[in-house]
Symmetry: C2
Subunit: 350 residues, 2 copies
Amino acid sequence: MDIAQERAALVDAVLERFFTLSKKRAEPLGQHYLHLWGLLERNTQGGKRFRPRMVMAAYCGLGGRDLDAAAYVGAAFELLHTALIVHDDVIDRDFVRRGIPNISGSYRDHAVTLGAPEEIAEHRGVSAAVIAGDLALFNSYRLLDRSGASAEVRDRLADVLDEAMFASAAGELIDVDFSIEPEMPLVDDILTMERLKTAVYSFETPLQAGAILAGASDKAVETLGDFGREIGIAYQVIDDVLGVFGEWGATGKTTIGDLREGKRTVMVAFASSTPAWARLGELIGKHDLDETEAEEARELLAVCGARAFAENLARDYAQRALSRLAEPHIPAALRDELHPVATEVLDRVK
Amino acid sequence: MDIAQERAALVDAVLERFFTLSKKRAEPLGQHYLHLWGLLERNTQGGKRFRPRMVMAAYCGLGGRDLDAAAYVGAAFELLHTALIVHDDVIDRDFVRRGIPNISGSYRDHAVTLGAPEEIAEHRGVSAAVIAGDLALFNSYRLLDRSGASAEVRDRLADVLDEAMFASAAGELIDVDFSIEPEMPLVDDILTMERLKTAVYSFETPLQAGAILAGASDKAVETLGDFGREIGIAYQVIDDVLGVFGEWGATGKTTIGDLREGKRTVMVAFASSTPAWARLGELIGKHDLDETEAEEARELLAVCGARAFAENLARDYAQRALSRLAEPHIPAALRDELHPVATEVLDRVK
C-alpha cells in the first residue's frame, strides 16, 4: 500500500465502524431501517475519498501525526458529501448515480418488485432518500465529536464543518434557481454557485480542517482556504468541460446529459454572448438531443471559443492556487502534499 | 408573564439570536438565501414550544438554575422539530401546514407569481424545503454546542439528541411503509411507529436532556425517559382520535384529512378486525370522501368500539406515566412540573 491507500484505508475503517455500530442500533427498530442503513453505507463506498484526502494532505503536510484523529475528521466530510449528494439526487429527481441505482432508485425498484405502481414506488424511493440524507448529515457532526480532538479544536472544526454545510446549501439553492430561471446567468454567478455548492466543502474546508487539527497558524489555515477555493473552482470548471467533451471513462458520466439538461456552465454562459448562440440556444437544453446534435453543439462550443475560455479560466485559477503554495509560511512538506492536487487539475485540461 | 411564558421567552430569544446571526451570514451569499433563512425562521415561530417546555420542566424540576443554558438545549430540540416537520412535508408532498403555506408552498407560490408553470414551481418549492430542513437539522446540533455545558455534559446531550434523530428517522420510514403497504398494521406496530416518529423526540429525549443538564442521577434520567415514552404514546393516540373526532380549534387540523388519507391509527387498526370494517374499509382512504360519508365513518368508528379502545389505551398509558412520578427518587418539584403535562393529555380524552 502506498501512503494514499494507507490513509484511505484509515478513513474506510472509521466509516466501517460507524456503519457497523449504526446497523447494530437500527436492527431492533426493524428490518426496513436496517436495510436503509445498509443502503446508506453502500452509498459511501467506492468513492474517491477526495475530501478525506484533502484533510489528510493538510494535516500530514503540517506535521500532524495522529492519523486516526485525521481519519475521523476526513470521514465527517465524507459523510457530509454523502448527505449532500443523496439530497441533491432528491432535488434533481435522479434515481441513478454513476450507472447504479441510488437510494431513491433502490427503494423504487424494490417497491416495483413488490407490485407497487410506478408513482407510489418513486415516492417511496424519494422519501427513503430524504431520510437517509438526514441521517448522513446529522452523523457527519457526530464523527467530528469522536475524533478525540480537544474541546477547543473540536469547536473550531465544528465551525468549519458548519461553514461547509452553510455554503453548500446556498450553492444548491442558487443552482435550483439557475435551472428554473429563463435568463442566462453571468460567468461570475456560475463561478460563485460552483464555489459555494461544491468547492467549499470539497476543497476549502477539508484543507482548513486538516490544518486546524494539526495546530497550524491562522495564516496557514487562511492560505489553505485560498488555495482550496482557487483549485476547487478550477476543478469545477474543468469538470463541466469534461461533462461535454470528456470521455465516459474519465468522468463516469455520459457527455450528453449536461447538454440535454441545459446545465448552466461557464462555457454555456460564454457561448450565449456569441453569434454561435443562435443555433446553440436551440440545442442546449433540448431534452431529446441526439448524438449528431450533441456533436454539433460540441463543435459550436469549440468554434465560438467557449471551450478555450473555460479551459484558460481553469488554468488561471489552478496557477493562482499553485502560487499560493510558494508563500513562505507554507512548509515544504505541505507543498509536496498539495502540488500534485493542483497538477492533477491542470492535467485534466490537456 | 407567568413562569411558562418566561421560559418560552428565553427559548424564543435563543432562536431569535440564532436566526439573526444566520441571516447576517446568509446575506453576502445572495438575497435568495437570505429569503430562505427568513422562511425557516417563520417556520419556527408560533409553535407551542412543546419540546423546550419538556427540557425546562425536567431541568427546573431537578433544581437547575441556569435557564439560559436550558433555553439553548430547548431551542436545539425545537430546531430538530422544525427540520423533521419540514422534511415530513416534503415526504407527504404537503404545501400547507396549519392553513398557511409551508416552505415548499411559499416557494411554489412565489415561483407561480413570477410566471413559472405549476410543475416547475412545485419542484422549486420542494427543493427549497429539502435545503431548509437540512439547515435546521444541522444547526440543531450547533445550538447544543452553544449551551455552555461542560464537554462531558455536552457529549451526553449530543447522544440524546442523536437518539432523538435516530428514532424519528426510523419512525418516519415505518410511516412511509404504512402509507404504501396494502396490509393493515397491528395496533402494536402503530404504537411503535408513533413512539419512534414523534414521542421519542418530543417527550422522552427532551425530558432526559433537561435532567442531564441539571446533573440528575442516571436513575432519574431513566425514569423521565419512561414517563416521556408513556405520556408521549398517550398523546399520539389521543391526537389521532382528535384528528377524526376533534374540533378544528383544538387541533388546528380538519377532521376529514386523516380519513381521506386513510391514515393508519390505533382506531383504524382496531376497527379493521370488527364487522364494521366491511363498510369502514370503503370509506377510510377514499380520497374524495364528503362530510356525510365522514360522519358515517365517525359513527362506525364509535359504534364498533374503536374510539373507546383508543381512548382507554391512551388513558392507560397516561396513568402509567403518572404512576412513574410517584417513584421515590422523583423530587416533589419535578412531580409538580410534570403532573400537569400528564393531566393535560388526560383532559384531551374527555
